[in-house]
Subunit: 207 residues, 2 copies
Amino acid sequence: MDKKDSMAKKEKIILAAKDMFANKGFNGTTMDELAKQAKVNKATIYYYFKDKEALYEYVFAESINNVVNDLEKRLKNTKTATDALKAYIDSFYFNSKEDETFMRILLRAVASQCYLFPKQVMKKFLRMLSILEDILDKGYNEGVFKKTDTKLVHFMIVGGISFLLTTKDKRSSIYETFDNTPKNFNKDDKYANRQLYEIILKGLGVK
Amino acid sequence: MDKKDSMAKKEKIILAAKDMFANKGFNGTTMDELAKQAKVNKATIYYYFKDKEALYEYVFAESINNVVNDLEKRLKNTKTATDALKAYIDSFYFNSKEDETFMRILLRAVASQCYLFPKQVMKKFLRMLSILEDILDKGYNEGVFKKTDTKLVHFMIVGGISFLLTTKDKRSSIYETFDNTPKNFNKDDKYANRQLYEIILKGLGVK
DNA sequence: CATACAGTTAACTAAATAGTTAGTTTAACT
DNA sequence: AGTTAAACTAACTATTTAGTTAACTGTATG
């Protein structure tokens, strides 16, 4: 068996792990089921990863790194604070759209009062927060943003996006089961990032 | 043993359950540890609740009912859509401040793509969403709000609040451990609800 | 052809887990 | 004091769990 095939197995494990950690959380994910879903022998998982926790950390770190890298790329093409804030929203929005597991793992980590944050992930997370802080400071100095709490803005963005994307697939069945869903509940939200621009930018005082 | 003491035991179980389901999630919570934390015999839990799931549902439903009841009380004292929206924010904010477990359980339920939502809880949740929709419609008809997606507004509110409150206790230790925390990271947010008013109301186009 | 080595596996272990059982204690009422 | 029912419990069971082991495979290298 050559390297490509072995890489494929590791990749299979990572994919299944992302999906299961997102859906069922750390404790809800069992190594047996994970092996089954990844279609590898359970011992193969332990060949590539020290233990369950190491796998979790790997998966979480990889996801957040993707977002941070994408964010930094996007920021290079921006001049104004307004554009930078849009880029901040977009990097979460488009990354989560492509791989919605990240947001779900993040939600759980927050819910656990951060004990599910591996150190390296927390570091990256704080890095993003300080990038956002710089953007908000810049906007304030440019006279277009009002002073606001960075972390509040951050989680309004992340909260809004994560909710929209994680409930996306279930909404139509909820809509059918319950009779009191709001009007647009089942509507597709293709341009939700633009709605977020609207609310957040106006909310920060941009004319 | 009189009724008060037996109520006290059931209450102890509920309190411990809230705390553990919030901190560790459904699967991370073990009945043995729960019994230990509640200081009751494990079998006593099964005397009061059919099984782990029933306990989870009870706890989740009780929490969301508190929020909905509080919301409906607050709404009675409002005239304008703006005040109603503030009441909506406040009912989440003050309830979560008093009992922060609810938000954490909610975050996990969302992360699980809603399979952790018991039916009765989902019903109440949709009830809240339709209340918010009425508020937003009213504001639109009054000419003060722009048209927006109800669920997006809802989760920006809930996301913002849940993040602030769930990370509250850990922030100072994070601040000490990592060197790149943003400026106000460790700041107390007594009036976070007012900051939320600002951003959300302005975001909706209120002058 | 022999040796080495990365990759893979079925079968196993020790510990933890949700839930049960069969019985004991407590308190209220006659 | 005796009866009853609710509240409670220590000890148990069957199952599931994370992680291990020891052996096997294919391939590359000398």
